[in-house]
Symmetry: C2
Subunit: 476 residues, 2 copies
């Protein structure tokens, strides 16, 4: 009998009916409802615990383990069809998007499925901040343009853990990753140059590229990453000056490329002598170790990282790992932009890393995010159109939903109705060069509780069903 | 008799033999040495106190008042001869200069007459920092690109006190004034454009302009400010795209222009439709109220300010007052450079201003700096070549020494020997476009104690006398 109970619960978990973090019935209530001895239920729970599917919490009962295997039902069938985009025109909406987003933060009552950073304050960060603030004699001076030595040392240690060896001498602290990206782009690009980006990609990158008056090649992302066959074609035909890529937990799709994909990308870039700018700001949020960064395969890669997605965006602490031969010239550009980034935020992050808080914080964050991701996948299965497709990221804070083509004409209306219903999400069109792509939205699971996420996804599902109901023609 | 004593002491003070902050002899000792009654000395001291030349400090005795009129002996005979510089070539040494300067800070034992900010920590800043750090729930988010509303409100209130009315809506917080300058220059200038600067000027500005590949017109500074006749000629002949000026406590000369000079400059700029970028980072350090900023005479002026010179450079909090019609476009450029400046330093400065600490801090700082300035003027009179000339700034932290032409060939040797003797100062050549100007150095009195300043100036005087002694030929 206890094996039957075990099997039934195991099925509920692997099918996704019970998701990580859900509480199991108490031993007494399950025994009563099944009309069995309490010891029988306890035996079943012990088996589930031993299998890693269930955790007992002292005094609270039994819960589905946060790291239990992902239910087989929560699969990704993401497989969009799209063309390469060549973009020479102006009109990035990033500025308007960012401004509206920040304004919305100041208002209450929104379900925020747009925000790409976790909103709760990391444990101990306030305490570390007050402690560092008390030491600010040393934070008084003009300081090195490349940033505090202690912070760079800590970043180098962190990078070793994700498979990237960089000397602190080749690290440059920046005011968020945005400054890192902006510096590298300005360093390489002249107006009229061609640049490769993934399509879709980070909308802020499109805005910087537009400001620099460069021309964009948007290479489609499929489920495995940037389409390398198309990349090879366009490297050959357009001789771009830079490849911009987000290999781990790609924004906005959440896709992490494989080691072989990374190796092939590096080979292509080397063959065409095209520099790579690797944006890896979500690295720390990958559930299992991700393949090593592109930069670990080729020291000539420019690598941008950040603490905005893991600690606090308001600290504005990011960094670049710079190929040694380019370091002095890029450092001069940083100096001439703002001399150096503010010292206090650097010291806070340095101390948070040095004391081991950051490592523990990332562990907690990853566990929480996996649990949230599964809750969102569950909600999508329940409330979204049956013919929608989505990615299943191995971590991070958002996923990407590909909507059927019947939504092409109604996306603006969907967004407006969502805002009216106090649900925020990121419009997919922002992420496509020239806004040319299939109908899609980015949904964040980093911010709201599973309950509110479900409420938000349900609300969106309703709006989608109302504005473009599935055809009732069986032949459609 | 007491009037004789009064007259004698007054002469010592106005001649500069006694400088502000100096202690007067005790009543008893002066009475003994002059063989008079103590009451006689007391009467003399009372007269000096009533005249504002002397202050009694409870239990410590009598001191030359910190704000006593400047001794007539400490005059400026600054009046250089120089040509307009037209600069199209490359090679700004700012990057090397800044790096060496920061490295020297990490070493002990230097007398630093280079540093252009006061090194002691402002009263209560640590406390304010810890308090703000404890509130950092609200500092968590991505925030407005233009900066925290509370800080912008406080800056607007401060600006009203110096005669400039600006709406907080037209203020943009930047990462130090360097980012403000850099943003405005990038906004206006294309490679090849002509730009007017004062000659000498802020060396960092020359470096940014060089990076932007623009061409520079260096208009000579005389004792009253930029030579406006020459400016008019070059506005007409070269049609520059921007005028960069530091009207108050000009860097590096310390000169503050008069209201009529400001009005004439504005008229010229308006006539030639040339925008003005006003750099006013030293404004808060002017001993008496300075004439109102250029921007108060013409709302189209771009105005850059900073808290680096008055609070802490490491906070990197500056701002731009932007003409309303340019605000949205410039804000987008800020956003694409780093989204926004870090929140915590902004909140600290905002709180320091809101609590009134900043106003009191500036008062103390100005008093201290005036006293330090006089000590440096005294030391220059004593130790520098008789034919050297210097400016006498109405505040701020540095003055400018024009050396006789016989030093033209030995300035590099002077600097090297000074560094060997552990004395830092700013080489004047850094501040001239194309390094074309008369022999000069900038000396800071913001950093070291009067004793160390005297030691440093004496050391420099020795080096100068050794490397280029005055000619012994009476006809020379």
């Amino acid at each position: 009998v206890y094996q039957q109970i075990r099997d039934r619960l195991q099925h509920l978990i692997t099918s996704g009916a019970l998701v990580p973090g859900d509480r199991l019935p108490s031993i007494r209530s399950l025994a009563q409802s099944l009309q069995v001895n309490k010891l029988t239920v306890m035996e079943a729970y012990d088996l589930l615990t031993a299998a890693g599917l269930v955790t007992a919490r002292q005094g609270s009962g039994y819960f589905v383990d946060l790291l239990s295997p992902t239910p087989a039902s929560l699969t990704s069938r993401f497989s969009p069809t799209q063309d390469v985009v060549l973009w020479e025109t102006q009109g990035s909406p990033f500025f308007r998007y960012y401004s509206q987003y920040v304004q919305a933060q100041y208002q209450a009552g929104f379900i925020d499925l747009s925000c790409a950073y976790p909103q709760q304050l990391p444990d101990n960060l306030s305490r570390i901040t007050r402690r560092v603030a008390g030491l600010n004699e040393s934070l008084h001076h003009y300081d090195l343009a490349q940033g505090l030595p202690r912070l760079r040392q800590q970043i180098a240690s962190f990078l070793v853990q994700i498979g990237l060896e960089v000397s602190p001498e080749h690290l440059m602290v920046t005011t968020g990753s945005m400054q890192g990206l902006s510096l590298v782009l300005r360093y390489f690009l002249q107006p009229g140059d061609w640049v490769v980006v993934e399509s879709p990609t980070f909308s802020g990158m499109l805005a910087i590229l537009e400001q620099l008056q460069v021309r964009i090649i948007g290479i489609p992302m499929d489920a495995n990453g940037m389409n390398l066959e198309l990349l090879a074609q366009y490297l050959h035909s357009h001789r771009p000056k830079l490849i911009y890529t987000i290999s781990t937990l790609h924004n906005p799709t959440g896709i992490t490329t494989s080691l072989s994909h990374r190796q092939a990308l590096i080979q292509l870039a080397q063959h065409y002598k095209c520099p790579i700018l690797e944006d890896n700001v979500y690295e720390g949020l990958h559930a299992d170790p991700a393949p090593p960064p592109l930069k670990s395969l080729d020291a000539n890669v420019f690598y941008v990282g950040s603490f905005s997605k893991t600690l606090q965006p308001g600290l504005r602490v990011g960094y670049i790992a710079v190929p040694s031969q380019h370091f002095p010239a890029l450092l001069e550009q940083k100096l001439l932009q703002d001399l150096h980034s503010p010292t206090l935020p650097q010291a806070i992050v340095g101390e948070y890393l040095a004391t081991g808080h950051y490592r523990r914080h990332l562990q907690r964050l990853r566990t929480m995010l996996k649990c949230h991701r599964n809750a969102m996948l569950q909600a999508l299965s329940t409330y979204f159109p049956a013919d929608a497709r989505w990615t299943m990221p191995a971590g991070g804070m958002f996923l990407w939903v590909q909507l059927p083509n019947r939504f092409a004409g109604v996306l603006a209306a969907v967004h407006q109705q969502a805002v009216d219903a106090k649900i925020l999400y990121t419009e997919g069109s922002l992420c496509f060069p020239a806004r040319q792509g299939y109908p899609a939205i980015r949904l964040s699971f980093g911010n709201e509780s599973p309950d509110l996420m479900e409420k938000g996804v349900a609300g969106l599902g309703e709006i989608l069903a109302r504005l473009a109901p599935p055809s009732t023609n069986a032949a459609d």
